[in-house]
């Protein structure tokens, strides 16, 4: 205690606390800059990241020889030729019926799940010869991939892999093959149905591998691995590590987040930064941008990833691609327990490099603290700081906050039924301009201005903190984009320059304008107003929360700050001296 005591006395004697309080505004900015700087400059630098390793010893990737080779080649080609024919001559219903016959030939029990809205899904279960049938692994291949290309190779691979597996006695987990219409809504609806209503089931699903090999080419260049789940979920790092390990063992180059082939060999600061930022982007937009299929399994404690073949004339053969899911299944099959705990929070800088949560979480925490400081600044650094707790200003501020929350909720719901992005953005623009237009006409009392902002920033800080471990990427991106609102000033004497500054800050920190602008900048496939439709679609079809987090977590604070930016008039408050 003596040390703490000494420290305490020292802090008091040099007057650190008053200094600290008077500098809160700058400290808030500093925190945000530290957060951003840590993310951009520190994390991809040497010493901050580690080489990946397999945490669960039982996985033993590529320890067993992979047999999916020439002997399977003609079988695979046979299926592929048939499927290629189906895409032109038969409906999904008919081809499902035909494929289901093929699967039954080698002992797979099949059923068709018919979703009225999203089409039919064929699935089959091969019961484990050595297991008790309580656990399962999924191999999924949607008929069409995220680009609406016919997934001939992927589906043929899935079928021939299951046929190949069925000859082996080693399986201790059931193997489920899923052939759905698309990798998004229909696969998601099958996963939901599997856990709620289906009759033919094979136990709890431990892992899911989605195969994406469009076209009928025999050869491919390299493999993409997609692992970002919905709502910031990620599969256990072990599964990703095993996939990378196996692919590189087979000599296939692995690309993360769609990095082009030419950049795969680079390992410098820039390449790591690029991969990390692409990873954050993919995680934030997961489910909103094009889905690869692994997103469909989120939320049910299933570790899932998508393997995608890229290129058509590379050095690797389609059976090489097949050996990756084969060895992956062998590894997962080895698991006696679940995947290791707390191996779910990571950012990948390269297929073999990762940052663990302890290192990267500080960035988002710093941004969240920046909002707390901004809020304290609004409370302490003005003459209304001494107002009693139950003063009319606090009570009205809480009430106004509740009203803005209700308004934000109504906006989020109305937009679902009337998706009019132009109206939404226009309204945001009008709200931003209002304080400038009403400069001389409309005024609010000064303490309200400070209190509204304080409540807005505190709320934002709480939202960001609760998102920290749920969805790190969204927390940091939302925090950074919303931060400009904390730099708005309360204007007492009419000042055009400050009003215009406030207007700019409000416009760039508006949730809808910022989302729209940033997504247009980083994701060409969601250009224009597509992002808003995609947000609604993701929330309705996949259960992605991002739309509601933006509306309920960010918008109310912005509304309050906008209201607080109206020119204020000073109030004489009787400050009680005791």
């Amino acid at each position: 205690m003596a040390l703490v005591e000494k420290l305490h006395r020292r802090i008091i004697s040099i007057g650190l606390i008053p200094k600290f309080i008077s500098k809160l505004s700058q400290l808030s900015l500093l925190c945000c800059v530290i957060g951003l700087g840590w993310l951009v400059f520190m994390l991809p630098s040497d010493g901050q990241f580690r080489r990946t390793y397999i945490s669960e010893n039982a996985l033993l990737p590529s320890q067993a020889y992979s047999y999916f080779r020439e002997s399977e080649w003609n079988i695979l080609r046979g299926y592929r030729t048939q499927l290629d024919l189906f895409q032109y001559v038969s409906t999904t219903h008919d081809s499902n019926a035909e494929v289901s016959k093929w699967l039954q030939e080698f002992g797979v029990k099949t059923a068709i799940y018919d979703d009225e809205q999203y089409g039919e899904t064929l699935y089959g279960i091969f019961h484990a010869p050595r297991g008790d049938g309580t656990e399962a692994m999924v191999i999924a291949a949607p008929w069409y991939n995220e680009n609406r290309e016919y997934n001939t190779g992927g589906a043929a691979l899935a079928i021939s892999l299951v046929r190949f597996f069925s000859r082996w006695p080693v399986w201790s987990k059931n193997i489920i093959i899923v052939l759905s219409e698309d990798p998004k809504a229909s696969l998601r609806s099958w996963v939901t149905a599997y856990h709620t209503s289906l009759d033919l089931t094979g136990g709890s699903i431990e892992s899911a591998i989605v195969l994406d090999y469009p076209g009928t080419s025999d050869r491919f260049d390299y493999m993409e691995i997609h692992y970002d789940g919905l709502n910031g979920e990620t599969p256990n790092l072990d599964l990703v590590n095993v996939a990378v390990h196996i692919a590189e063992h087979e000599g296939i180059k692995v690309s993360l987040h769609g990095l082009p082939f030419s950049e795969l060999d680079r390992n410098d600061y820039n390449s790591r930064l690029k991969t990390m930022l692409l990873g954050i982007k993919d995680s934030v937009l997961s489910g909103i941008k094009n889905c690869y299929g692994n997103e469909a399994f989120s939320g049910w404690r299933i570790q899932s990833l998508t393997l995608k073949a890229k290129g058509i004339d590379g050095p690797h053969d389609i059976t090489t691609f097949g050996r990756v899911p084969e060895a992956l299944s062998r590894s997962v099959n080895n698991l006696l327990e679940k995947f290791h705990q707390s191996f779910f929070f990571y950012l990948l800088l390269a297929p073999r490099y990762f940052i663990s949560i302890g290192t990267y979480l500080a960035t988002a925490v710093a941004v969240s603290v920046a909002f707390v400081f901004a809020a304290l600044n609004q409370i302490l650094n003005n003459k209304y700081g001494e107002l009693p707790l139950l003063s009319i200003y606090n009570i009205w501020s809480i009430l106004t906050f509740c009203i803005s929350l209700v308004f934000a909720f109504a906006t989020s719901q109305l937009f679902v039924y009337f998706p009019l992005p132009r109206v939404l953005l226009g309204l945001s623009g009008i709200f931003s301009v209002l304080p400038l237009l009403s400069r001389t006409r409309l005024r609010i009392q000064e303490p309200f201005s400070y209190r509204f902002k304080a409540f807005a920033y505190i709320y934002m800080a709480i939202v960001l903190t609760s998102l920290l471990v749920l969805n790190f990427s969204l927390a940091i991106v939302m925090g950074l984009l919303a931060f400009p609102m904390t730099r708005t000033t309360t204007i007492i004497e009419s000042n055009l320059r400050l009003s215009i500054k406030n207007l700019v800050l409000l416009i760039i920190s508006n949730p809808f304008i910022a989302t729209w602008a940033v997504v247009n900048f980083v994701e060409p496939r969601l250009s224009g107003f597509k992002v808003f439709y995609a947000l609604i679609e993701a929330s309705q079809q996949l259960g992605c929360w991002t739309w509601y987090i933006i509306c309920l977590g960010w918008y109310p604070s912005w509304l309050l700050v906008t209201y607080a930016s109206i020119d204020a008039i000073e109030v004489q408050t009787p400050i009680k001296k005791e």
């Binding site: 979920e233 779910f344 929070f345 903190t465 471990v469 749920l470």
Partner: protein, 392 residues
């Protein structure tokens, strides 16, 4: 009674009823959360007990019911009118709000705040409101404690003894409050303890009779609190220790935890025997912090006494930090529980970390209040906020 107090009472009653009847499924949802429901306070297990009683089945053999026989009998009695249960709970909660306002009236002179303020604080406290809507049986305990306190402060010691005996019968931790209560009673404390003992014996005998002349209810209602034999995650400090501990350490740590609960009750009472009401509140906070199956309802009940510390608010050193700790603990605990149980990406450390934050919040409030009490004592009751003191 002043009209504003009536308004508070009606608003309190109406808000509870409105929430219960507007969101009928909320009760069951809250009863399933670990924050508002524990095996010993859950309404579901009380219903189970009532069902078993009505069908003449042994109540305590199944290991599901951990409520005392009288409560189960009461529940069995009123179960015919189950739709009126929210009314009963809302009425009890309102009664607590009313009693808090009565206590404020007793201390009117020192407090310098309108007497309806504690009632308002209680009525709008979301923890208490949700706990009431979840129909957690800790409300019975809280009501008994506040009734006993009110009677003791208005110098009706016999009634106070009966109420604290009832509270202790429902949850034995309340017996610890007999110590600060004896401090309030001063010279009458011997009578208080004797009366409390007698009433407790009578209550146990009635329970014995109700339970078909069988003492086995003692194990499932009281012994479970001491031995923590039903290991369920909750917001307390206990559960985490006993899920991964070597078998032979468990009895030692169980005794340490139990001693921990008791250890600070006499010191608080002795040190603050001049302000015995405040000693009582601090003891209440201490029990909330260290008991084996705490809920947010207990925490909310303790926080409802904060307005009575109004004269020493100026001395509090970190009320903002305590508030932020509470807000974060309460918001993050369901999220971390979901990460652990729902998604499986977190583990039990996550939730325990949050229950530690919650414990830190309660303890920072207790420490801050204790400091403020000592400070005002140093200034001989006349606040001198400009004087800076540090602890040695």
């Amino acid at each position: 009674m002043v009209s504003s107090e009536w308004q508070v009472v009606w608003a309190c009653f109406a808000s509870r009823l409105a929430v219960s009847y507007l969101f009928p499924s909320l009760q069951q949802q809250l009863d399933r959360t670990v924050e508002f429901s524990t095996p010993v306070t859950s309404y579901r297990s009380l219903q189970e007990g009532a069902y078993l009683l009505l069908h003449n089945l042994p109540i305590y053999d199944g290991g599901v019911v951990h409520h005392v026989p009288l409560l189960v009998a009461l529940m069995a009695f009123v179960q015919q009118a189950e739709f009126l249960m929210p009314v009963l709970f809302a009425a009890m909660d309102t009664l607590i709000a009313y009693q808090l306002m009565q206590i404020a009236k007793i201390y009117q002179r020192q407090l310098q705040i309108p007497s309806y303020i504690p009632g308002v604080v209680y009525a709008v406290n979301p923890l208490v409101l949700l706990s009431c809507v979840s129909q957690s049986t800790c409300l019975f305990v809280n009501l008994s404690i506040s009734t006993s306190l009110l009677f003791a402060l208005s110098r009706q010691f016999s009634l106070s003894a009966i109420c604290i005996a009832l509270a202790g019968y429902l949850s034995p931790y309340a017996y610890l409050l007999l110590i600060p209560l004896a401090g309030i009673c001063g010279s009458n404390s011997f009578g208080l303890v004797v009366k409390c003992t007698l009433v407790s014996i009578v209550l146990q005998l009635i329970s014995f009779k109700l339970n078909n002349d069988n003492w086995n209810y003692l194990t499932s209602t009281y012994w479970i609190l001491i031995t923590f034999s039903k290991i369920r995650p909750n917001l307390g400090l206990w559960w985490y220790f006993f899920i991964e501990m070597f078998e032979f350490f468990i009895p030692f740590f169980k005794s340490v935890f139990n001693i921990f609960v008791v250890s600070f009750i006499p010191p608080f009472t002795i040190r603050f025997n001049q302000q015995s009401f405040y000693a009582f509140v601090l003891c209440l906070g201490w029990i909330t912090l260290t008991k084996s199956y705490p809920t947010l309802g207990d925490g909310g009940f303790f926080l409802s006494f904060i307005p009575f510390f109004k004269p020493i608010f100026g001395y509090l050193r970190y009320p903002v930090i305590s508030t932020l700790l509470f807000i974060h603990a309460i918001i993050l605990s369901p999220i971390f529980y979901y990460l652990w149980i729902g998604l499986g990406s977190g583990n039990s450390n996550f939730f325990y970390a949050i229950s530690l934050v919650y414990a830190l919040a309660i303890s920072s409030v207790i420490v801050d209040l204790t400091w403020a009490m000592l400070r005002i004592e140093y200034d001989s009751g006349k606040p001198n906020l400009s004087l800076k003191l540090t602890q040695i």
